[in-house]
Symmetry: C2
Subunit: 129 residues, 2 copies
DNA sequence: ATCACTGTATTAACAAGATAATACAATCGT
DNA sequence: ACGATTGTATTATCTTGTTAATACAGTGAT
């Protein structure tokens, strides 16, 4: 599982893990029944403490997003459905509007913005997980 | 000065203050020479400790965004224009990357995203303040 | 010169996040 | 049954953020 953890912005690591796993589930990349990485494995991968991963998993379970079975693993709960396609579009539109507002405030016109997006999208995959 | 402080997401208060003031400066809402609220006033308004505001101001000064004169106040630095411009670009780039990540997760390719942006930008001014 | 207002500094105390080391308990493949 | 793997729990320690209470120092209007 690919997660991006940063200690630059003050957001607790376990919160970052929770949020990103939530996102993976809600976007359908983690289907119901799928097993999450073992706490020790994920901790090793992210270079954080197993306790921190465990805390994130505990948090997720308390929200009903996952079910953990001691000795077996942590699994995405049944009954959690990925967001509908329309909902995804709505989210995207929302973010676009935020960006457009931002750009307008900075007196960056749409074409310049688009140019900037094209430039940043080149090799974007190599910069992210 | 209107700032929004939350203690929900783990981001240190002083960081929130720094970021939002940075934004106010870089977006031109706080012009060079403008005085920031006194530490005690802002602390009272935000219901936080004066030390926390002081820390935010100290941070901002160390980055050259403001100049603090003991006994007088804290003022937006002159010559922040080019800095501000670069900061603007950085902020915008950051938001663009978020959007690109989002879009990629939703399997929306760059060209489709750009098309969506063009569509949403039409008559955008009429939909916003 | 005085006084209110400004930023700055110090010290103490507390809470939360993270790490570390360790132990225990349940599961699963063999 | 065994052993590796899994989640869970505990305790201690460190760091960071925040509050609190004070004190000090420079500025500027009067």
């Amino acid at each position: 599982m690919q997660l991006r953890i940063t200690d630059q912005d003050g957001v607790p690591i376990y919160v970052q893990v929770v949020r990103q796993i939530k996102y993976l589930v809600s976007s359908g990349r983690l289907a119901p029944g799928a097993q999450l990485p073992p706490v020790r494995k994920l901790a090793e991968q992210l270079l954080i403490n197993p306790n921190t991963v465990a805390r994130a998993y505990r948090e997720l379970e308390s929200e009903g997003l996952v079910i953990s079975r001691q000795g077996a693993g942590v699994f995405v709960a049944d009954g959690v459905s990925p967001l509908a396609r329309r909902e995804q579009q709505r989210l995207l539109a929302e973010r676009i509007d935020v960006l457009l507002t931002e750009a307008r405030h900075m007196k960056v016109d749409v074409e310049a913005l688009i140019e900037m997006i094209r430039r940043r999208s080149e090799g974007f995959d190599s910069r992210t997980s």
